[in-house]
């Protein structure tokens, strides 16, 4: 891609905004119906991938990797041991969301 082409870059920025808005709308719609645990895990994976594209924050990349390697694999067989490992990653994601809040609050 020609990074000097401002028209093309503008298109990509608008496409990114539109995609994020659509993903947000879909996930909010899903909240009001019970789509089941496996589907929620899939949805969370999609959202994390989208966030990784939108934000250059190293922690997000680590969270996404942990999610792919631990949550997606172990949530298929949630024994007590696996569930505790999954819970560890989920708690780290929650902690990450809290940090986003802290940073935004500090910035604004």
């Amino acid at each position: 891609m020609d990074k000097g082409n401002s028209e093309k870059l503008k298109d990509i920025v608008f496409l990114d905004l539109a995609l994020e808005s659509t993903t947000r709308k879909i996930s909010e719609g899903i909240m009001h119906i019970d789509i089941g645990f496996d589907s929620y895990i899939r949805e969370l994976g999609i959202i994390l991938s989208n966030l990784c594209l939108s934000f250059t924050w190293a922690e997000l990349g680590f969270l996404k990797d942990d999610f792919e390697m631990i949550v997606k694999v172990m949530s298929r067989n949630l024994t007590e041991d696996n569930a505790r490992k999954v819970k560890g990653v989920i708690d780290r994601i929650k902690q990450g969301l809290g940090e986003v809040n802290d940073k935004l609050n500090e910035m604004l």
Partner: protein, 134 residues
């Protein structure tokens, strides 16, 4: 930014909260809340869920109980208070001088990025859910 523009503190807080809630981070937070009970059940975890960890040196105060947090959210407590509440919707404010909020036996607790969770986190107030107070 807010300070540079000379914006009132309440407007700055609300604005930053709305910016955050307008992103996909908020959607992720809602999904985490949906999957959490199932994982907790499978992992045989305890009955405490900490949403905001409060101050590192702990939270101390006189204990008071209220049915709804909404009933006391504008109250100004004279002394440091630990608040036990039966119900919390997520849209409430944290009352003045409250050091910790404990949601008792709640089947519907706020997510990590709900208004009250964000306020508790920013004010360094402990916010925790107790699933079984028996």
């Amino acid at each position: 930014m807010g300070n540079q523009f000379g914006v009132d503190a309440y407007a700055k807080d609300l604005f930053s909260e709305e910016v955050l809630r307008g992103t996909l981070f908020f959607s992720a937070s809602m999904i985490l809340k949906k999957i959490d009970p199932h994982i907790r059940k499978c992992a045989h975890l305890g009955n405490w869920l900490i949403i905001s960890s409060g101050r590192s040196h702990g939270s101390r105060g006189y204990v008071e109980r209220s049915k709804n947090l909404a009933d006391v959210m504008h109250k100004e407590y004279d002394r440091r208070t630990i608040l036990l509440v039966d119900k919390i919707s997520g849209e409430e404010e944290v009352p003045h001088n409250v050091q910790a909020i404990i949601v008792l036996n709640s089947s519907d607790y706020p997510d990590v990025l709900a208004h009250v969770s964000v306020r508790a986190r920013n004010l360094k107030v402990l916010l925790t859910v107790l699933f079984d107070d028996g």
